[in-house]
């Protein structure tokens, strides 16, 4: 019957590879192989090179990202499965910078406690590579593979403190829930592939707008895929791993997970939802509504009760993911089309990256002296580390969304999207988000109160020594947070750029 139609595999034709488009990934692959080999072959002092090599590699990968941005052309390869456009480039830039900041945070942390260094950097680079690939993947298989590449090194890095029970718990929870979520997601993808017979998102998108798209099978497939990524972005009720993992993992990795890994999940979701599942907003819009409302509320309420700064920041980052989900929940009702929801999300992600990385960098700096993660240990920080106190205040108030620090602009664009949608549901969601912002202010402010007003718990007022790498990371994040707050057009420009060219 139909067997004989379709392409007959005859002479193999190698695909044309656009090396410029792949250059950022290729540079990164070259560097991570170099890191591995250098770490294996060199002895003693030579092995210290790997950290520097990895850092330089991340910056070097930034060069082709910039040249591609200057070039400006949308490059679509292998039948639309791999696309390098402004959206991809904005996120590739974000991932590289987040990876570089993580590297700055890690260098002294690793050296202090004598952990494996070469392998650590290698895995970190692999994870960044996975994110870079994710930003360009417009096909189910690429997305899955990229997700695995960004997750599996992260599972291992979360458990890098092998002799620490909390570290073991962190990695095990993260890993088990992670692979379970991946399994659910993969099943959903297989259902969608089964009905459409396509893996490329644009093809899936056009098939899901035609007849047969309203099958329950498609809805179930979409739900499964979104659930899989909801885990990655730690949306409630798939967040239960986050606090334990954030607490047990090495703090630089926690920063990396809460920023880069989460952004990776959002990138995938945006691509899947706004290209592949565009025609089925009746499925994903209510789902995101519930996810967003739950994530904000539960995250903030539990964050209120935390006494450990890392756990508090973990729940705060859960809640922040809720704000970022808001545009999804109303995307279908926007006058300018669903694509208009992407700008605000990207903007929020970029701002969030700066302030959250900064907050974790500060936790790392303070923990070098206090050796504690309790919020109480921040008491009287102002007396012996006024600079750090000011920085921490910048970061927490930015997270809370107080102008003129970065966070307010993210909140503004998200709320504006809700207002643009102007449906009853959007308004209700807006009210929930507003209430949550007030709750969040309470626990962010309590950290500040601890630092400025409380006495030093143990009376030890020797100044905190902050190594150069950490200083660089802190100043980078602080400058970014303040500049974005004062002059938000910088990041708004990126948000406007980061829209797919192929939206209807």
């Amino acid at each position: 019957m139909d067997v004989l139609s379709g392409p007959v595999a005859g002479v193999f034709r190698a695909p044309d590879v656009d090396y410029h488009a792949f250059a950022p990934e290729l540079v990164l692959v070259a560097v991570l192989v170099a890191v591995l080999v250098v770490d294996l072959v060199l002895e003693g002092r030579g092995r210290r090179l790997v950290g520097g090599l990895a850092g330089i590699g991340l910056l070097a990968a930034m060069v082709p990202v910039l040249t591609l941005a200057v070039d400006g052309a949308n490059r679509s390869m292998v039948g639309g499965a791999y696309v390098v456009d402004d959206f991809a480039l904005v996120f590739k830039g974000l991932f590289l910078i987040a990876g570089y900041v993580t590297m700055l945070l890690s260098s002294d942390y690793l050296a202090d406690d004598d952990y494996y260094e070469g392998e650590y950097y290698f895995l970190l680079l692999s994870s960044v590579l996975g994110m870079m690939v994710m930003a360009s993947s417009r096909d189910l298989i690429s997305i899955f593979v990229a997700l695995e590449l960004l997750s599996i090194p992260a599972y291992m890095l979360a458990g890098w403190r092998k002799r620490d029970l909390k570290g073991n718990e962190a990695t095990l929870k993260y890993y088990l829930l992670g692979v379970f979520a991946t399994g659910v997601m993969l099943y959903g993808m297989s259902l969608i592939f089964g009905i459409t017979g396509e893996t490329v998102l644009t093809e899936i998108g056009s098939k899901l707008q035609g007849p047969g798209a309203s099958l329950p099978l498609v809805s179930l497939g979409i739900v499964f895929v979104i659930v899989g990524f909801a885990f990655k972005i730690s949306a409630v009720p798939f967040h239960s791993w986050a606090p334990d993992t954030y607490e047990g993992a090495p703090t630089p990795i926690t920063a990396f997970l809460s920023v880069a890994s989460k952004a990776g999940g959002f990138v995938a979701l945006m691509q899947l939802v706004f290209i592949g599942f565009l025609g089925r907003d009746d499925v994903w819009q209510p789902m995101f509504w519930v996810l967003a409302a739950l994530t904000m509320t539960v995250g903030n309420l539990i964050a209120l009760r935390q006494t450990n700064i890392v756990r508090m920041l973990a729940y705060s980052s859960v809640a922040q993911a809720g704000y970022m989900l808001l545009p999804f929940a109303v995307a279908g009702d926007l006058a300018k089309g669903p694509g208009a929801a992407m700008g605000p999300m990207t903007t929020y992600l970029l701002i969030y990256a700066a302030m959250n990385l900064g907050a974790f960098a500060l936790v790392l700096a303070v923990a070098r002296k206090t050796r504690s993660g309790e919020i109480a240990s921040y008491g009287g920080l102002f007396e012996y580390a006024p600079g750090l106190t000011v920085l921490m205040s910048i970061f927490v108030f930015a997270l809370a969304g107080i102008p003129p620090l970065g966070g307010w602009y993210g909140k503004l664009v998200v709320f504006k999207t809700l207002l643009d949608a102007n449906t009853p549901w959007a308004i209700v969601l807006g009210v929930i988000a507003a209430v949550n912002s007030v709750i969040a202010l309470y626990y962010y402010a309590s950290v500040a109160r601890e630092m400025w007003m409380r006495p030093v718990p143990d009376g030890d007022t020797t100044p905190v020594r902050v190594p150069a790498g950490l200083t660089a990371a802190l100043s980078l994040c602080a400058v970014a947070t303040v500049v974005i707050g004062v002059y938000p057009q910088v990041v708004a420009r990126f948000g406007d750029l980061a829209v797919f060219s192929l939206l209807p």
């Binding site: 379709g6 690429s142 599996i152 089964g194 099958l215 179930l220």
Partner: protein
């Protein structure tokens, strides 16, 4: 077509029964062995669908590598002979209810979507044609053209998994 249907029925039954035993048996090694039956039967189902390459890879990777490593891990750490009461879980009924619910839902949506579809008959199609269209050659061509990027990324992924696993498993 009758022979294929009978074969499908037998394999499907074997898969389901073995799958149930995987979760109900109280012996880790037995569970792993039932898992082998499940995976091998699924491999056989691929053969029924004339996907020999996938079937061979299924046996090679899942039966020959993954479960072997799983058993290896069990034997090197805790090779209890006989039943292990810790394998049981108080929440098994909750789990069973959820599993049944999921089974019902999935069966419904799958029957709803594909209930009337029929596989095309392969009567009179020569092996050469089949090979050219869905044999290992066709799979290879697809991997190195359409799915080139994921394929290359997987190589980095495996390397990363290898390095990470060695670091975590290493005694130091």
């Amino acid at each position: 077509m009758v022979a294929q249907n009978i074969a499908f029925g037998v394999l499907a039954a074997a898969t389901s029964l073995a799958a149930i035993r995987v979760v109900t048996t109280r012996n880790v090694v037995h569970a792993a062995l039932y898992l082998v039956v499940v995976l091998a039967s699924v491999g056989a189902l691929y053969i029924l669908l004339t996907a020999e390459f996938v079937a061979a890879v299924q046996i090679l990777v899942y039966v020959g590598a993954i479960v072997v490593l799983l058993l290896f891990g069990v034997m090197l750490t805790k090779a209890t002979l006989g039943e292990d009461d810790q394998l049981d879980n108080d929440q098994r009924w909750l789990g069973a209810v959820i599993a049944l619910f999921l089974l019902g839902t999935l069966s419904f949506v799958l029957v709803d979507a594909f209930g009337d579809d029929k596989l095309p008959s392969l009567e009179g199609v020569s092996r050469a044609t089949l090979e050219a269209q869905r044999g290992s050659g066709a799979v290879g061509d697809a991997i190195f053209s359409t799915f080139l990027v994921p394929f290359e990324v997987v190589s980095v992924l495996l390397l990363a998994a290898l390095v990470g696993a060695i670091v975590l498993a290493r005694r130091d």
